[in-house]
């Protein structure tokens, strides 16, 4: 049973990490806890569902469409909501609260458009059969989510560390003003980050929607709450931290169900989280945060 639970923990942790990657990226560069990320995540799932249902396109095209549409949505949120607040030098709390409003508006709009009932991807979009390896059950989709979350983390880290673009982004994360004085196109990079992070959120929405088989307008909210915990645990704004935080939360949840009882799941998992934060108040990889201060 323990082996299967560890497999379960790995796939659940990767689900959380996948969601948290885009979430943490926005914070890392823009310094905004974007609470509309859960709604963007949901839009991604619905967008892919619509093109797959109506045009019968394969999954990769659905994923691409969700990525692009959510990216544009993220861009629009940045342009219409975050940019005016930046221009007015609004304190940190204001953009966060503004994104709560954006999230509510998007949720309500989707409920108006598609109704409150549960939807799912057509059967056969991805194989639902389990691969059985030595008595362990794992679906192809779970394997895909695990691999993709690691690959995305690796790619993001590489991009941030090794490319000119990444260096510029890290410069902005330290000080947008200094970066601007150095001739970095700060606004442009803010747009790019918003686009990429929202696109990643959309991708996560499609994959997790496929995984849970239940799409509904508020599907992003519980994920958002877990996501906040994950990125705080990992250290706000850190890509590695989002990955590890996700895996940690997944492991804590699964093991507390296995050995303490499912009634105590959140108590144990979040108790652990609290302990970690007591020992490392800035999270597992809280360096970015440190530099900001």
């Amino acid at each position: 049973m323990l082996e299967q639970q560890l497999v379960n923990a790995l796939s659940l942790g990767s689900v959380y990490a996948l969601f948290a990657l885009g979430f943490t990226l926005i914070f890392g560069v823009l310094g905004v806890v974007n609470l509309s990320h859960g709604a963007v995540f949901m839009v991604g799932a619905y967008a892919a569902l619509q093109v797959i249902n109506h045009f019968g396109v394969p999954l990769w095209a659905g994923l691409l469409f969700a990525f692009l549409l959510c990216g544009l949505l993220g861009l629009a949120i940045d342009f219409l909501v975050l940019k005016p607040l930046r221009a007015r030098n609004a304190p940190h709390l204001i953009p966060m609260i503004a994104t709560i409003g954006v999230g509510i508006a998007i949720n309500s709009a989707m409920q108006g458009l598609f109704g409150a009932e549960n939807l799912r991807f057509p059967a056969g979009t991805v194989s639902e059969e389990s691969l059985t390896l030595g008595g362990l059950h794992l679906t192809a989709l779970e394997l895909g989510i695990v691999l993709l979350s690691f690959v995305l983390m690796g790619a993001l880290m590489l991009a941030l560390k090794r490319t000119q673009l990444g260096r510029a982004m890290r410069a902005i994360a330290e000080s947008p003003k200094a970066a601007y004085l150095l001739g970095i196109n700060v606004e442009g990079l803010f747009y790019l980050t918003s686009f990429a992070a929202a696109g990643l959120g959309g991708l996560a929405g499609v994959l997790i929607g496929l995984y849970s088989n239940a799409l509904f307008p508020l599907m992003g909210q519980p994920m958002l709450h877990k996501g906040i915990a994950v990125i705080i645990l990992g250290g706000l704004g850190d890509v590695r931290g989002a990955m590890l935080g996700g895996l940690f939360l997944g492991l804590a949840e699964v093991l507390s169900i296995a050995y303490v009882g499912s009634d105590m799941r959140d108590a144990v998992a979040f108790g652990f989280l609290f302990l970690v934060l007591l020992l490392r108040p800035k999270g597992l990889f809280g360096s970015l945060q440190e530099r900001k201060v």
Binding site: S212, A214, R265
Partner: protein, 383 residues
């Protein structure tokens, strides 16, 4: 121009007055949620009443009198239900009232009918305590406390089940109360429970709980969940190689399970007072008539409303109306408990409920649940 319009409207008023004076009409109030969150239920209920009234009137009415439904929208809100009840009882002077749609509203509005000694008849209120309000309160809606033991018994008999695991949503009033009812029924049946696991609304992964359940090696999983979590639970259980039956509460009793769980939806037992698959003569006729009138398939709520008006009609047939409203309302109340009726939902009779002090109060439904199991995308009735 204005004058002629005025004349026409005067004529119309006169015509209406003349009309209502001619035919003796039995005014029956219908207070349902026709707008707001519960509107999908309220609309089905209204349709059921309209279909029944149309058929009864077409067949000659009740001892020559026609039924006139006075339909009001109580919006699924307590305050509005109270307002609508007052209007129906004191202004429209109806013989009796059907409704309201939600148990919450019934708790608030039924005492008004009780105080004015008028029958209030719920067709969709399943919460405990509604019929303990008083002896003018009736319902033909079957509660989960009655349905779940029957679902369990049928599943145990058909599936040769010796021990079960329990899984339920512990952060939702409805799924929690379903769990409480299951727990009591399991204790009454002396069925061993290997483990009891919980989940929360919005969870996407249930494999940890299911892996634990699998380790206990039960013969079935008792599941109190809403469909949003229930369907993924069924899919993930099958993915873990857990191919045992599920025994579901009311939340799982929906054709949505086939949409959401697709080929992993087999082997789910659910109980319900009504099933569209039930091929009795009365039910078949009801389904056909409803579908042709409203261009959609009926649901459980429509069927229960349809039957409720027939039940009231049986009582009214035995009452000799005096024209004195208070006396007629009481006479109807006294005639109702004896009614036995076989309608779309099957054989029905009333069962006396008691109030909090244990004294006799209103009347609940006494009706066998129909237990079905899912098989290749449809509910198959078990006998």
């Amino acid at each position: 121009m204005n004058l002629s319009l005025f004349k026409t409207s005067l004529l119309a008023v006169a015509a209406t007055l003349a009309c209502s004076a001619q035919a003796a009409e039995l005014k029956i109030g219908v207070a349902e949620a026709l707008s707001g969150g519960a509107a999908q239920y309220g609309a089905a209920i209204r349709n059921g009443f309209q279909l029944a009234a149309e058929q009864i009137n077409a067949a000659g009415g009740i001892n020559g009198d026609k039924i006139q439904l006075v339909i009001e929208d109580e919006q699924g809100k307590k305050e509005e239900a109270i307002n609508v009840f007052k209007k129906l009882l004191f202004q429209d002077k109806v013989l009796m009232v059907f409704g309201p749609t939600l148990s919450n509203s019934a708790q608030a509005a039924d005492p008004i009918a009780q105080a004015s000694k008028t029958v209030v008849f719920g067709t969709s209120n399943t919460a405990d305590g509604i019929t303990s309000i008083g002896d003018y309160v009736f319902r033909n809606s079957v509660t989960e406390a009655d349905v779940l033991p029957e679902t369990l018994k049928m599943a145990i008999r058909k599936g040769n089940i010796k021990k079960v695991a329990v899984l339920y949503g512990n952060d939702d009033v409805f799924t929690k109360s379903g769990y409480d009812n299951f727990k009591k029924a399991l204790a009454d049946l002396n069925l061993p429970v290997t483990t009891t696991e919980t989940f929360a609304k919005g969870d996407v992964d249930f494999k940890a709980q299911l892996t634990k359940i699998k380790a206990g090696n039960p013969d079935a999983i008792v599941l109190s969940a809403l469909i949003a979590e229930g369907a993924p639970i069924m899919v993930q259980a099958r993915q873990l190689g857990l191919n045992i039956p599920f025994i579901g509460g009311n939340g799982m009793n929906s054709v949505k399970v086939f949409d959401l769980a697709k080929d992993k939806s087999d082997g789910l037992y659910v109980g319900s007072p009504w099933s569209i698959e039930n091929q009795t003569e009365t039910n078949r006729k009801f389904v056909v008539a409803y579908t042709s009138k409203f261009k959609m398939a009926p649901d459980q709520f429509a069927a229960q409303a349809y039957d409720a008006l027939h039940i009231a009609t049986q009582a009214l047939k035995t009452v000799k109306l005096s024209g004195n409203l208070a006396a007629d309302r009481t006479a109807l109340r006294d005639a109702l408990p004896a009614v036995k009726w076989t309608g779309a939902t099957g054989a029905f009779q009333f069962r006396r409920a008691s109030d909090k002090a244990g004294k006799p109060a209103g009347y609940d439904a006494q009706q066998a649940a129909i237990v079905s199991v899912t098989q290749s995308g449809r509910f198959v009735i078990q006998k």
